[in-house]
Point group: C2
């Protein structure tokens, strides 16, 4: 019996959450983790300690893997090109991953493909800022082309003076600067699809995503009060992006819903926070479909198993012993599904999430928030 | 953050299937496994290699565990008593586990508690056989008091000569002999409950279990065409046994349905094959509730998430490369959930199972059997 081996670069919670799916499917995971105590390293026996910036570590790690995939998008594409040159499958490939690594490349590719985006402009000099401010008005958004996540690397600038300060700071780090229209959205959505090398795709239900300080905090699946037409439009945007950019594995597309149109905000080419609901609310979780997709196996059904699932992230606050709060939450609500990442609690850090599925959205939302607030110490009753 | 550590004695598939639940809950599993390639050892980093017959191995393994539990019931109870004397929690405790280890003790305890059982008799000498044959008629069933599982250690004897041969063989191994009435059952059921040390219990839906050569092959949850009254009666039998014997963790009670009454066949004090459907068909799987129960945490809801779930075991046959058949099965049915145990294929060996959930029982049953038959090489289209 030949169990396939999937190598995952990065030892965070996304790699950790691939392990239950891998166990069920009889897939061997190998993880390249910065430390032996990282979230995924705790639960995956075949853990190699090393940095994703270290070619020697990546090369040694990849030997014997049927395919290499990712917990995050920060691996230099030149390393991935070298793996491919050695005959090792890398999914998503560097030709796709570059668009998740560089927001300017992403905007260029999406605009060329006719995908609806906020207005954007590459900023090199002061006159670019003035010109873009004249076009879209102030305030607008400045982003680092590379290295940002969870609200990091994003600024809303009110005027030229502030914009110049931010741009100077980014350019000092030798990173390119992207300016984007501040979209007057009424809410944020996310579309997730899985795509395999042979081109099979499945689309998950469109979800509503709510952020706190730029970090995903609540996801409701399916998105409330979204017309079938609009939901299909959002799914089609994600399917088109996956095909245009030749993404393999999971693709998450974060979207702005302005009330009248849907615009693409960000891309992630891996399992994503907006899909954690699928662990308890879909026939096939995003983690299982990511593994199936990168192995070029037929994909599993993304259909929901309940009318509604609500996910709320556990963002670290005052309470640092989650397990002491666990019993209360479990006793109060036997239907709550708690997922912990084995991470030390730090303020604002994602340390876990809760899912709850059922029929009444308001009831489920209240239950999920109560559990999350209790587990993080926001409330104590 | 203090993650609890649960020690599991035995490295089989039941320990393996605890790992996804442990990962989600932030529980650290440690497994005592006979080899480094056992089913659970493949997926649990903290694997200690050793025998459950070796006190020194068990003692070293148990240090630092918050509680010790089991993949199987074969650990000598004297070792467990010694662990408890050292202050280590063992769940289920040896005072309960003895009834799962010794079928004569089990029949004595259940009969004393007024739980309905087949007629039974301890066999010491030839006249016991004659007397029991006169009482229940021939053929009847002979079992070893200890060491049997999956149909092993069970004989149906047609006459006194055959019975004497079987008894002599068992007694030669210094094992006591139990005779039981051959129950004219119309089908077999299973009742599963989880019970925590503080006495909280939850009861799973009653399932129908179908055996092939004494090995569980198909489980349908909930049991078809079972009245609410009869289902409640079966649940109450399991709840009473759990309380009477002070079981902690999961208890499975295999039952005969004679059409007019329900009789207890066997007990298992651990997650059990009859509960594998719960991995994809219940809010809380039997593996999660076993971990919650042995940690004395509040139990999760055992409610089904779909009207029907059908489980079919993968029993090894001709095909030894499951993964080559995997793609066909996945492509044909995106809703099938395949679970593999990482075990080499041997004829008749449990190497995995499939679950499928939905509304139409006949359709689900056909889908589950097609997948199982294809994966094991019984069919090739």
């Amino acid at each position: 019996m030949s169990a396939p081996r999937v190598g995952v670069i990065g030892g965070g919670q996304l790699a950790r959450m691939m392990q239950p799916a891998a166990i069920n499917l009889g897939i061997e995971l190998r993880v390249l983790s910065a430390t032996a105590t990282d979230s995924a390293a705790q639960v995956i026996p075949d853990t190699i300690i090393g940095s994703h910036h270290d070619w020697d570590a990546i090369e040694a790690f990849a030997q014997g893997c049927d395919v290499v995939t990712f917990d995050h998008e920060h691996v230099p594409t030149e390393f991935l090109e070298k793996l491919i040159a050695q005959g090792i499958a890398v999914r998503p490939g560097p030709h796709a991953l570059q668009y998740a690594q560089d927001k300017i490349s992403m905007r260029e590719a999406l605009t060329q493909a006719g995908i609806p985006c906020p207005q954007w402009k590459v900023i090199s000099k002061e006159s670019d800022l003035v010109e873009f401010g004249d076009t879209v008005g102030w305030p607008f958004v400045i982003k680092t082309a590379r290295g940002g996540y969870d609200g990091k690397g994003v600024w809303v600038v009110d005027d030229l003076a502030e914009a110049k300060t931010v741009v100077a700071e980014i350019q000092a780090a030798d990173i390119r600067v992207l300016a984007e229209q501040l979209v007057p959205f009424v809410r944020e959505l996310a579309a997730q699809v899985a795509r395999s090398p042979q081109g099979q795709c499945v689309a998950y239900p469109i979800v509503q995503s709510t952020q706190t300080n730029g970090i995903c905090h609540e996801v409701i699946s399916p998105c409330p009060d979204l017309s079938d037409e609009r939901a299909t439009q959002a799914q089609e945007i994600a399917l088109r992006i996956a095909a245009e950019l030749d993404v393999t594995g999971m693709l998450a597309v974060e979207l702005f819903d302005t009330g009248s149109e849907i615009l693409v905000n960000e891309l992630a080419m891996r399992p994503h926070n907006s899909g954690h609901w699928s662990m308890d609310g879909a026939i096939t979780s995003q983690f299982e479909n990511h593994l199936r997709a990168v192995l070029d196996w037929p994909l599993g059904s993304p259909a929901a198993t309940s009318p509604v699932t609500v996910m709320v992230n556990l963002l670290g606050k005052d309470l640092d012993d989650l397990h002491s709060a666990f019993r209360h939450v479990m006793a109060r609500d036997p239907g709550i599904k708690v997922h912990l990442y084995g991470k030390a609690v730090k303020p604002g850090r994602k340390i876990g999430h809760v899912n709850v599925s059922g029929e009444n959205r308001d009831d489920l939302t209240a239950r999920a928030w109560h559990a999350a607030d209790y587990l993080t110490g926001v409330i104590d009753e």
